[in-house]
């Protein structure tokens, strides 16, 4: 650009003027572009500041106060956190949540993978089967299904009725501290649709020559699964594991409705439900905020842990050729 201008214009001062005007118009153009950029992202930016960033910082302060929404918050230092350590209901909720996450999420992922492999076929009707396996997942979070699940596991409910056929006496699923959590776990495991679809997409990506080569080498189904399917699928497993684990920690509706506020004896008092009870039923906003912050940190740590271990078991194809 500069050399072209020098050649065309003999007088250097004219060229300088032109260049100045050019840079001015460039910066004017840049200004417009910046304005346009911020114009388009403004809804997100305002929402982010007002509804995410400021609230999360405010809740960090709130965690060190006592606040009942009527009178102004009072600073109490680390009292809320100390109180957590001594609160037996808090530990009950931690126990219930960990138990729930560590059983429901692996079950959900195993079902998802098994069914995805079953449906990874070009046979006729697979689309309909896929829809049927996915159907519970689109309604799974609803109150309608939670209400239904409560009746499925009711004393006179569907499960007991079916068990009676094979001679098993009635079980009080929802009233027994040992079985109540399993009504929530089965509900979660039943909704494996989303990870199943993601696994299906992953399975489709595995090149078939890999299996053919393995078959020529005499590999059976089991060794094909462990040597090809699992390693090739490990990035997808990793993704599903992270997303579903986070989902597991924040389960709420089920414990409020199916097991009626975490009953019996707080054995199904999932963490977010306890935060809700403290903050909105007992109006202990400070204590609730402190618990929510601990949850956030735990989720971040667990996610980081999964990321850390991933280098040992997640296999990424090298992209050197590309």
């Amino acid at each position: 650009m500069d050399t072209a201008a020098e050649v065309a214009l003999p007088k250097p001062e004219v060229a300088a003027k032109r260049a100045a005007r050019l840079t001015f118009s460039m910066s004017h153009h840049q200004l417009i572009r910046n304005l346009n950029g911020y114009l388009f992202i403004a809804p997100w930016l305002i929402g982010f500041l007002a509804f995410t960033l400021i609230p999360i910082l405010a809740s960090l302060c709130l965690a060190f106060t006592k606040y009942d929404t009527m009178s102004p918050p009072t600073w109490v230092g680390a009292e809320n956190f100390e109180r957590m350590l001594q609160d037996p209901r808090y530990w009950a909720s931690v126990k219930a949540t960990l138990y729930y996450v560590m059983t429901a999420i692996p079950l959900r992922l195993v079902f998802a993978l098994a069914v995805a492999m079953l449906l990874n076929s070009d046979r006729r009707g697979v689309g309909i089967y896929r829809a049927m396996f996915y159907a519970p997942s689109i309604v799974g979070g609803s109150v309608a299904v939670a209400v239904m699940w409560q009746q499925v596991f009711g004393t006179e409910g569907l499960v007991n009725y079916c068990l009676a056929f094979i001679g098993i006496p009635r079980v009080v699923w929802l009233g027994n501290p040992h079985t109540a959590i399993w009504t929530l776990i089965t509900l979660a495991a039943w909704q494996f649709g989303s990870p199943m679809l993601i696994f299906l997409a992953g399975l489709r990506q595995i090149p078939t020559p890999l299996y053919e080569a393995a078959a020529i080498d005499g590999a059976g189904g089991v060794s094909k699964f462990f040597r090809i399917t699992l390693p090739m699928l490990s990035p997808v497993i990793f993704f599903n594991l992270v997303m579903q684990t986070i989902n597991g920690f924040i389960a709420f509706t089920q414990a409020l409705i199916v097991t009626n506020n975490g009953r019996p004896l707080d054995t199904t008092l999932l963490y977010v439900l306890y935060v809700y009870q403290r903050a909105f039923q007992n109006l202990q906003m400070g204590y609730g905020a402190a618990m929510a912050w601990v949850l956030l940190i735990v989720i971040a740590l667990v996610t980081a842990l999964i990321f850390k271990t991933s280098s040992a078991w997640v296999f990424y194809e090298s992209k050197e050729g590309e």
């Binding site: 572009r33 910046n34 346009n36 950029g37 911020y38 114009l39 388009f40 992202i41 809804p43 997100w44 929402g47 982010f48 007002a50 509804f51 609230p55 405010a58 809740s59 709130l62 929404t69 079953l118 449906l119 046979r123 089967y129 829809a131 049927m132 396996f133 159907a135 519970p136 997942s137 689109i138 309604v139 799974g140 979070g141 609803s142 109150v143 309608a144 299904v145 239904m148 699940w149 009746q151 006179e156 569907l158 009725y161 649709g193 989303s194 679809l197 993601i198 299906l200 997409a201 997303m243 509706t253 409020l256 409705i257 809700y276 903050a279 909105f280 906003m285 609730g288 949850l295 956030l296």
Partner: protein
């Protein structure tokens, strides 16, 4: 010759027979399993047509002996003098409004991030990706306090206004979609004197409709089934959405007309299944390409 041809046809039919056997060995268990998957939903649906005496008598049956619509008629009357007309209407207002706001603004924001190079873009984009990992449940307390200060409790404002900020998930998804469109399109439009705003509305917006439909379906689902938001912000029964109404309806104190409860619960799932049947393609694509996790 005759022997060979009969032998051939025998071999052929044996092959066919084994193929049929093989496909039966596949289809039968899969049909049984997929039927078991939706059995609870079918059971609730069937129970809603049974008489009150039949529901807990012949529990597992899917065919009502005496088909009756009484549960629907009684259920629709609702409770506390408010019928399901109101609850259904409220749910449509909430889900419809939230979907409209969230999808349109997500498209706008996605265009800004994907196509305009501005100072600070990478920083804000990273912030947005970080919010993807932030569970909304952690924010309920400070947000509640904020909305209470604003006097928004018992209105739809706390449920709808934040949707104008878009959703990080869908912004990201639409961005990926826009990146797949040739940049020459924008450049040509700008050459012809189209402003950036004009380029978005005239060129990009019509092209990203598939991504917007996917975003709209998911937003509608999640909002339709949302329980926590209405639970926190709506305490006036006239403003209840279906989720809150069903919970109130199924409350042990209110009633034990399980036929009516199952009828209204089934009805609340009708829009969800209708969208599922008609837009399944978008749903499956949305989940398998972007890893959206419903529920």
């Amino acid at each position: 010759m005759a022997v060979i041809s009969t032998l051939k046809s025998y071999v052929g039919s044996a092959k066919r027979r084994s193929a049929i056997l093989g496909s039966a060995a596949y289809h039968l268990p899969v049909i049984v399993l997929s039927f078991l998957m939706i059995y609870p939903i079918l059971w609730m649906f069937a129970s809603s047509f049974k008489g009150p005496a039949e529901i807990w008598k012949d529990v597992s049956s899917l065919i009502p002996k005496q088909f009756t619509l009484n549960s629907y008629i009684n259920g629709w009357k609702g409770f506390g003098g408010i019928s399901f007309n109101t609850y259904y209407g409220n749910s449509f207002i909430y889900a419809g409004g939230a979907t409209l706001f969230q999808v349109l603004s997500s498209a706008l924001i996605a265009f800004g991030f994907a196509r305009i190079r501005f100072v600070g873009r990478n920083f804000w984009f990273t912030c947005m990706l970080l919010t993807l990992m932030l569970p909304a449940q952690v924010l309920i307390i400070p947000q509640y306090i904020l909305f209470k200060q604003l006097g928004w409790i018992n209105t739809y404002l706390p449920l709808l206004v934040p949707r104008l900020g878009g959703s990080a998930f869908f912004i990201f998804m639409i961005m990926q979609f826009i990146r797949g469109l040739p940049k020459e399109l924008d450049e040509a439009a700008e050459m012809d004197g189209c402003s950036t705003v004009g380029t978005f509305f005239r060129i990009i917006l019509p092209l990203i409709q598939p991504a917007m439909i996917t975003a709209a379906i998911f937003t509608f689902y999640w909002t339709w089934e949302d329980f926590m938001g209405p639970l926190l912000y709506l305490s006036n029964p006239r403003m209840y959405t279906l989720s809150l109404a069903l919970r109130g309806f199924a409350d042990p104190g209110t009633g034990t007309d399980w036929g009516a409860i199952f009828a209204m619960a089934s009805l609340s799932l009708v829009p969800v299944f209708a969208i599922f049947v008609f837009f399944q393609r978008y749903l499956v694509q949305g989940i398998s390409t972007t890893g959206l996790t419903g529920g």
